[in-house]
């Protein structure tokens, strides 16, 4: 079992120009705790849309790697989007699911993955180039190598503990988040 905050921190340390879309709930706090910069876009609602926001961004910016960080509950609400991503085959898109097998925001009710539903099997069935689970801290470098070096679409599934951690709260206003993200993207564009 991985410690979710440590795993996310290890994936996002020295992230280069990686763009991050973050699904609602605990992944938001993990991503904000690891690296709260303008290249993160946090969804505080629209549950089930994170992967598709990632696809739209990946198609718009083929020059950049895009990672979606989300939880098992959010991913389960948008399973069809894995099929949609499978059709488009974006080589610059990775979906990272932090799976604690519970709905953490609403009282820790068990989610479908708690009953053995396999998100990795779904991703493989949806023609992701690579999909695998990680459950041990020593495997984190492998996950990192996959995220930054392999052609996508990638599906990184992390077995994480169900402990509740401190909520690290980033910006919530959608207009400000869009502004920060697009300004940061523009600034990067000028550098290159």
């Amino acid at each position: 079992m991985l410690h979710r905050r440590e795993f996310v921190k290890q994936l996002l340390v020295e992230r280069g120009d990686l763009l991050v879309i973050c699904g609602l709930g605990s992944p938001t706090y993990d991503v904000a705790a690891a690296s709260d910069d303008g290249s993160n876009f946090y969804l505080w609602g629209a549950m089930g849309s994170a992967s598709m926001v990632g696809l739209g961004l990946a198609l718009a910016r083929p020059d950049r790697r895009v990672a979606v960080f989300t939880g098992d509950g959010e991913m389960l609400m948008g399973l069809g989007s894995l099929a949609t991503i499978g059709v488009k085959q974006p080589s610059n898109l990775a979906i990272v699911v932090l799976d604690n097998q519970h709905y953490g925001e609403t009282g820790m009710q068990p989610s479908h993955t708690h009953s053995g539903i396999s998100l990795v099997d779904v991703a493989l069935g949806c023609c992701f180039k690579r999909a695998r689970s990680f459950g041990k801290a020593e495997e984190t470098p492998l996950a990192r190598e996959m995220l930054y070096s392999r052609p996508g679409p990638l599906f990184i599934h992390a077995h994480v503990g169900a402990q509740e951690l401190e909520q690290v709260l980033p910006e919530r206003d959608g207009v400000i988040l869009v502004h920060n993200f697009t300004e940061r993207l523009r600034a990067f564009g000028k550098q290159s």
């Binding site: 696809l55 739209g56 099929a83 949609t84």
Partner: protein, 177 residues
């Protein structure tokens, strides 16, 4: 074929030419018979990424992601799909992103299938409740003007805009009964 009949057949081409003019680069859709010509035009354009969706709500995420990446996009759906999107519309409203959707109507003029009527009869009101500016098109000769204006206000004002293509414009669906 008289001029009115010709323009009735050409409305998908008129919409597509507006996609080109507005610089739309991504088009998400759930297929509908009334949209088939427009979908084909988008698919055959190498500068447009056509994204077939499993459900319409995916398209709202796609539109938001495209906007974050600096691209313009549009969504095509049947009226039944509007109901699928209701919560997702909060994404484009909260973030004040442009969201241009084209809705082909079912459940109104000469509808054969009664199951289409409940959603069809509330599509317009539903879109307005969700914060959309709604432009309904009944006649083929209005397509060019209205679509051009809708593209402009959506992308220039960062607003959600829905163009409703009425069942009368699209034509009756043929049933073998």
């Amino acid at each position: 074929m008289n001029l009115a009949e010709r323009s009735a057949l050409d409305w998908p081409d008129v919409i597509y030419s507006n996609f080109r003019r507005a610089g739309i680069r991504q088009v998400g859709y759930v297929p509908d018979a009334g949209l088939s010509r427009l979908i084909q035009l988008c698919q055959s354009d190498p500068e447009i990424a056509d994204v077939v969706l499993t459900t319409e709500e995916e398209g709202i995420g796609l539109v938001a992601g495209a906007a974050l990446g600096g691209q313009r996009s549009a969504m095509l759906m049947q009226s039944s799909g509007v109901g699928n999107c209701v919560n997702m519309f909060s994404l484009v409203k909260q973030c004040r992103l442009p969201c241009l959707i084209f809705v082909t109507m079912r459940g109104e003029y000469a509808e054969f299938n009664p199951w289409q009527v409940p959603m069809g009869s509330i599509t317009d009101a539903c879109l307005r409740l969700c914060g959309f500016l709604v432009y309904r098109i009944e006649k083929a000769e209005d397509v060019a003007d209205v679509v051009a204006a809708a593209c402009d206000i959506s992308f220039d004002s960062n607003h959600s805009v829905a163009i409703i293509l009425s069942q009368r414009l699209i034509g009756r669906k043929r049933w073998n009964n």
